[in-house]
Each structure stands twice: as C-alpha cells, then as structure tokens.
Amino acid sequence: MKVIIVGAGAIGAHLADLFSKIRQDIIVIDEDQEKLERIQADSDLMTIRSSANTPIQSLKDAHVNRADLFIAVTRDENLNLSLCVLAKSMGARQTVAKVENAELSDPQIIDAFRAAGISSIIDPDNLAALDIVNGLKLTWARQRWDVHGGLLTLLGIKVRESCKILGHPFKEIFKPDSPYHVVAIKRNNLTIMPSGDDRLLPGDFVYFMTTRDYVPNMRIIMGKDNYPDVKNVFIVGGGKTAVRVVNMLTHDVKAKIFESDPRRCEELIDLVDTSHVMVINADGRSVANLMEENIKAAQAFVALTGNAEANILACLTAKQLGVRKTIAMIENLDYMDIAGNVDIGTIINKQALTASHIYQMLLDGDVRNMRNLMIVNADVAEFTARPGSRIIRKKVGELDFPSEAELGGLVRDGKGVLVNGETQILPGDIVVVFCHGIEMSRIEKFFI
C-alpha cells in the first residue's frame, strides 16, 4: 500500500513512524529539509522536498496517481483541502485532510467534501475534546476505550493503596470466568504483559478489559468508590480545544475557563454558552486565583494551555488543592513518560490522537478500530476471525500465540465476552487484541 503524507510536522512524523513499522510504502513531502532528514534517519521511507511554489510538481514526483492513501497534515487547512482535491483528481484513491475549523469537521458537510474528492476530514481539536469529555465522565479511570460500540471496555487505571486486589498473584484472583482481565501493566516505564505470577503494586498503571455492565464494579474493586462525579470543572487556557470541550459538556456540568488574555476572554464569551460556562480573566496557574474561585468545589481540572510544562504544573497544583481528576494536554511526545510518572492523571496528545485515528483508516477493513495507548506504548486492535483462519483452529490456550500479545475479549452475536484459555473463537467473532512491541502483521496472520 502506498501512502503519501504531506507535512512533516509532529502529526506527519508520528504517522510516518507508525506506517513504516507496518511496512507500507511511505513518501513524506515537506518544505523543510531538516525535518525530512530527521524522519528519514529513523524510518524506512522516502522523502521529497517541495517548495511553496511547486506543490504540484512534488505530487507528480511522488507518483500520486498510484497512491492508495493521501494525507495532508500541514499547518494550513486550506492547503490541506486543496491538496486533497488535487491529489484525488490526479488519481489518489483515498484522501484525508486535517482541518482546524470546527465548522469544517461537522459531519453534515462531509458529503460536500466527498463530492470534491476529500474522503475524510480530521480535526485534532475535536478528537482531543471528545477524549477529554469522555475522561470527565469517568473520574476514577485515566483512560477508557469503548470497543465495538461499548460492548467491551478497556480501562486504564492508576493503582492506589485502596485497591482490593493489591498484591495478590493473578492466578489466585482470576478464574476463567472472571468478569474482567488485566491486559497490560506499566511499571517504572516498562510495559509488562502479565502472567499468572504477576501482581498489582501501588503506582502501577494497569489496563483492564471488561464488559460494559461490569464497569461500575471495577470502581469498587480498584477502591475508587469515593471518587465523586464531575459537576464542576476548571479549565485553564481558553484555546480552541477548551471551547470544543465546554460545548460538548451537558448543561448540568458547570465549567470555569481561566484565560489570562483579556481580548481572548471577550471572544470566548461569544463562543461558549454562558449559562453554564463562566469565563474568568485570570492566570489559572496561580493558587490564589484558584482558591478565590473555590477550587475545593471542583471535581475535575483540565489544563489546555499551549505550554506542556505549564499544564503539568497546573495539574500538580490542582492535585495538591484536592482535585482528584486532572487532565493535561501535552503537545510534546517526549514528556509523555514523565507526565505519566509525576501522577498528573489523564494525558491528551493531539498528535498521537490524530495519527492513530488516521492509522486506523488505513488498516485493513477487518481491523475495525486501532488505538495507540500512549502510556503503555502498546496497540489495541480489533480483528474479525475469518473462516479457516489459524485463530479458530484451537482453543485460545492451545494456540501458539505470541507472548507479546494478549487476547482481551471478543464480540459474538452482539454481546461482549471476555477471552480465557478455554475460549474457542468462532468465525465471525470480533476479537480485541492488545499487543506490545510486536509487529501487527504477526498478529494479523492468525486472523487471515
């Protein structure tokens, strides 16, 4: 499969890295030679340097007529859109454009774009806002991912002393019919694919696979039943993402946006619904300001300024002041590990979100959903078991399945079921696989 990526910024570079790992033919086009050289040094791909005057020539050089997927992720949304239209007319099969404007990502106008030759629209702010709103609904978990429309649920949770299953080996806790599984543990920057002798320790970041109905019980097992629901949320930084977030919140949730720029505040009050959102012209990193607005009453704190360090510090401050749920937006992928360790709660990274969203589009129709879980550095994917594939020949426990991968659960006849050693996978089952440090193609072989 041939993929052309225009724009070697953070999103483009992350995508190029993801695609080159699954051995696709990738061409990255950018104006900046240095960025291209950096990408080329680490990944197996070809780069083409374009100049602002010759975007079409560089598309020709890249043989866009033979491209299966054309992705435009430059900073300029108009350029992205026009490049996609051009690429489509020159013969690219599928095109994806990144946009910034909320109006452009409205699902209702996608048909207009399709008619013009743009297959999909990606809006990083929208993806980030969705993730944040989902996080606010679930105060006690760091990450929640609903697989296959919510039939199965993947939860990322930080383990505290109050956890009920702390210290017990998994073989004692988990019976074949347990309603939840541990699929991965992150401990001291290392990812562990658990075996029967492993156990949970305080400070671990653990991924559970469970069914939707059992999610409330998980809260009790993890000892987090005293975490309150979010009724008041503090948001620091009144950027585009913040506006998206408050507009997605239901009206029973009150939000306060801290923005230090008075002019931006003026704009904000026109952009948000002031009946439940209050715009405050103050620096949200200052303890005095937070106290004045009564942070004790807030159940969640979201830091969305453009500065990753400021966001981390603001979240730490909020934690000190007693807020249980904190969410920080971090643009720099290098900070991910540190941010996970210093205990600032959920982390949102627009680049990674966007990249994994596009990545998911590329993967074979049989892989329905794919998400890069940043903290564990692992991938989750859904596969459909085909008739005659290796996965259905034996029971799961007897399969020679790579140890770097874990079968989480499956969806059969519209019901989510967890997988254990005794499970026999049947053709047509949709299987959720959690894998770490292994090429997806090795897993794919079992399902073809």
Partner: protein, 485 residues
C-alpha cells in the same frame, strides 16, 4: 547500550550467507578436482558452525538496532567476512601466512584488487573463483545484499544502509529500502551477466568470462592471469571492459532511472555524471598526448591503452592491459588524480566520489567569489538542489579525514623503507580501493608480496576504512563510542 545479542544474531545469519557463497566455490573445486576442495569443505563447515554459535548467542535478541549498533555491526561484518574468507587460502596452503591471506581477502571484499600472490595462473579454479567472488559480494556491500534477500532481518536496516552505503547523498529510489536494494542488485546482476556474455563472445573461456565480469562490474580488479586483461591482447575485450567498468562507476540508482523508468535524459543532466565523464575524457586526452609524444604509440593504441587505464583507475578497478610503469611520469600524476576522485556515489567504485568532487569544487569557487562579494549568499547547488551547510562541513571533514589517513599510511610506509613514489600511490590506491600502484619498486603489474607484514596490516585497515568511507570505522575507534552516555 550496545545490543550485542542482535549483532551476534545478524552476524551469524550473514556468516551462513558467506558459507553459501563459499559452497559455490566448493562446487567448482569439486568439478575441477585440483586439490582445493578439502580447504573449501572445511571452511564452509567452520563458517556454518561459527554462524550457528553466533545465532545461538543471539537468541531472544530484541529487534531494535541503534545507530551505534549499526556502525559496529557493519565494521564487524566486514572484518568477519575477511577472516572467514581467508581460510580457503590458508587451509589449502596457497598463501602461507595469515597476514598475506587476510590482506588478499580484504583486498577482495573491499574491491581493491591489490594482490600479494606473485603467480595467480598456477592457482586452482576454485580459489581463483573465490577471489573474484569476494570482490563481487563486496561490490555493493555485504549487508546491503542481505537487506535485498531477507527484508525482515534487520530491524534498523535503514541505519545499516546509511553506515554501509557510499557517497554524500544517500538517495532512495523507492519508499522502501528492500525494494530499493532489490532494484540495485538487479542492475548489478544485469551488468555482470551482460559483461560475461560479451567477454565470452569476444573469445574468453566461460570460466574467465565469469571471473572477469565479476571483478569488472564490482570495480575490483582481481584477474585470473598475471598479465590481467593484457593476457588476451584483444581490442574488443579491452573496449568491453572499458564500457562495463565505466558504467559500474555510475550511480546505480541513476542507471536504474534511465534504463527502467524512461528518464534517459536525466543521465546527461546529472551533475555528477557529467563531472565523471569530463574527468575521464580529459585525463585520457592528456595521457594520449604523452603516449604519442614520448612513447611513440600509434594513435589507436594510445587511445586504447590510455582510455583503459584511465577508466580502470577512475572507477577504482585497477585492471591493466599495458604496463603503465613504462609511461611518462606525468601520466602517473594524472592517474593518481583519477584514483583520488574515483567513481560516482552509489556505484561499486571507491575513492572520494565525483559527487563530493563536484560539491568541493563549488565550495572552493564560492569561497573565491566571496573574497570579492563578502556579503553575497552563495548557494552550492547540485542538480538544482542546494547542499546545506552541515552537509558541506561533513564533506570537508571527510576530505580532511581521507587526506590525513592517506598521509599517515604514506608516512608509515616511508618509515618501513618503501620507495617514496610507491608509498604515496599505495596509500592512495588502498584508500580509494583501486589496487595497482605506480612507482619504481612495485609496478602496476606486480604483486605487493614484498611489503613488510606490518604495512600489510595497516593497508588492510586502510582498505576497509576506504570502503566504508572512513567515518563508520573511525567512529568505532573513538573513545566516546564506547562510553555509556
């Protein structure tokens, strides 16, 4: 930290591949039954055993190769290939001493083509074939070969490619390295096959045709006769060799584009190719003049010998059809210049590379211009893309390293008592992987057996550094490479 397990694993696999190549020689040895079969059989056994042991040591290796690992891997692979490759010479007793055997093999793998064997004609066919084959394997690079046939075997193959490929600009013709590697090896095979067929048509025996074609397209220069191609004294063979040497010195990526992607015009627009052609023609013209003026050749002979010698030196092949030691001394200077520049980047040729030559000359021109226009922004443009300042600095650093290396070798050889003209041409010849030397003591047609052992070891190292373009080896010798930071 170095991923030693992975290096062991990859090295083990590569040794198996070397054993596979040796088996070809073994088959030949068995066909001719000249007493060298035993040596090959033993070597194949030892190499497979070593490969297996290394693979066992590399079990459960994580498949991530850092930049450091890549440099170390490439250097170690080349040394290991030379170490195992010398065994057939030693076991069979065709070369008496380890020093000589290692030198001979390294000279083969690096496509240098300098030999310490005084009389190659008496050697069995299997050994002769193995000598030629070492050059052919080394031509495009050992690890690069493996990338083409076993795509998944190196996790960081892109880094290995960067460590082994030649030239300042590492261009890819296809988004994926494996496909690129296959295309380049395809070109290489095609050139070799065409060359062998031409040689055969013009009167060589099939065995000679195959051997010469391998060493010509690898721009190596090992011959199966003491007099090299001079043995045949055949105009058609000389010109065939000239054509194939010349094209083996052109960037294979460029050849591929002009042959298979319908971009023949690109070839003549390419700055490096033009420089390469111009240099060849100028050098030939100068030598023709001196041959006519002082050596009283006929015009057709002068052109034939001059062109052959120039192409042989500029592509760093080092074959000969005439004893250049008899020529005027100025021709030696011209030939040394050819040796220094070498062929195009991305070919099998060695040397400083014409691409670097073009850029270096443009930098020089810019500096002169800057004296007059101190505030002018002067770009260094090659094929309409400007070369960035960091790349320019890297190129100049390479130049300095190259010169320093050659002079160090020159100095040591003078201390060891080698004749001065010989010393400088030997140093250049090894650094550029050419093969013959020019001088009074050892002529271009003679073997290097009289050199002292220490010098031979130094030259072996010099050849390796020349082939891997110095920095890959130099970085391993630097203390900071081994520090854990």
């Amino acid at each position: 930290m170095l991923n030693k397990r992975l290096i062991c694993k990859i090295l083990g696999t590569l040794l198996w591949i070397e054993a596979a190549f040796m088996s070809l020689s073994l088959v030949l040895a068995l066909l001719y039954m000249e007493g060298d079969a035993m040596g090959f059989a033993l070597t194949v056994g030892i190499t497979i055993l070593a490969g297996t042991v290394l693979r066992l040591m590399g079990r459960h290796a994580t498949n991530t190769l850092s930049r450091r690992d890549a440099y170390l891997l490439v250097a170690v692979v080349w040394i290991a290939f030379a170490t195992f490759g010398m065994l057939p010479f030693l076991i069979g007793g065709y070369i008496g001493h380890v020093t000589d055997a290692f030198f001979e093999t390294m000279s083969g793998l690096t496509t240098t083509g300098a030999t310490i064997i005084d009389q190659v004609e008496g050697l069995p066919h299997g050994i002769l074939f193995w000598r030629s084959l070492t050059q052919w394997i080394g031509g495009l690079g050992i690890v690069f070969f493996t990338i083409a046939i076993i795509p998944s075997f190196v996790g960081g193959s892109i880094k290995v490619f960067a460590a082994e490929a030649t030239g300042p600009i590492k261009s890819k013709m296809h988004p994926r390295l494996t496909t690129t590697a296959k295309a380049l090896w395809g070109i290489y095979l095609l050139l070799t096959a065409l060359c062998a067929i031409c040689f055969w048509i013009f009167g060589m025996s099939p065995f000679d045709a195959v051997n010469y074609s391998m060493t010509v397209t690898a721009t190596g220069g090992f011959a199966t006769h003491d007099a090299s191609t001079g043995y045949f004294n055949n105009v058609a063979i000389d010109y065939t060799a000239i054509v194939f040497m010349f094209f083996s010195g052109v960037s294979f990526a460029l050849l591929y584009a002009s042959l298979f992607q319908g971009k023949a015009k690109q070839l003549f627009k390419n700055a490096e190719f033009r420089f390469y052609t111009a240099l060849t023609l100028t050098a030939t013209a100068v030598i023709v003049y001196f041959l006519l003026r002082y050596n009283h050749y006929t015009v057709s002979d002068a052109i034939r010998y001059a062109l052959f010698q120039v192409v042989s030196f500029i592509t760093t092949t080092g074959m000969f059809n005439e004893d250049a030691a008899q020529w005027h001394h100025i021709t030696w200077v011209v030939l040394s210049l050819c040796m220094f520049f070498g062929g195009c980047a991305g070919s099998t040729a060695g040397g400083f590379k014409c691409a670097r030559g073009v850029i270096a000359l443009k930098i020089l021109r810019n500096e002169v211009r800057r004296m007059v226009h101190p505030k002018a922004l002067l770009p260094v443009k090659v094929n309409n893309t400007s070369v960035h300042t960091p790349s320019q600095i890297k190129l100049l650093a390479f130049f300095i390293a190259y010169i320093t290396l050659c002079f160090t070798a020159y100095f040591i050889m003078i201390l060891a008592g080698v004749d001065s003209t010989n010393s400088i041409t030997i140093a250049l010849s090894c650094g550029s992987n050419v093969g013959p030397t020019l001088g009074l003591e050892i002529g271009p047609t003679m073997s290097w057996s009289i050199l002292p052992p220490l010098v031979k070891w130094i030259l072996s190292g010099l050849m390796l550094m020349g082939r891997l373009e110095i920095f890959t080896v130099l970085v391993i010798l630097s203390p900071s490479f081994w520090k854990n930071n």
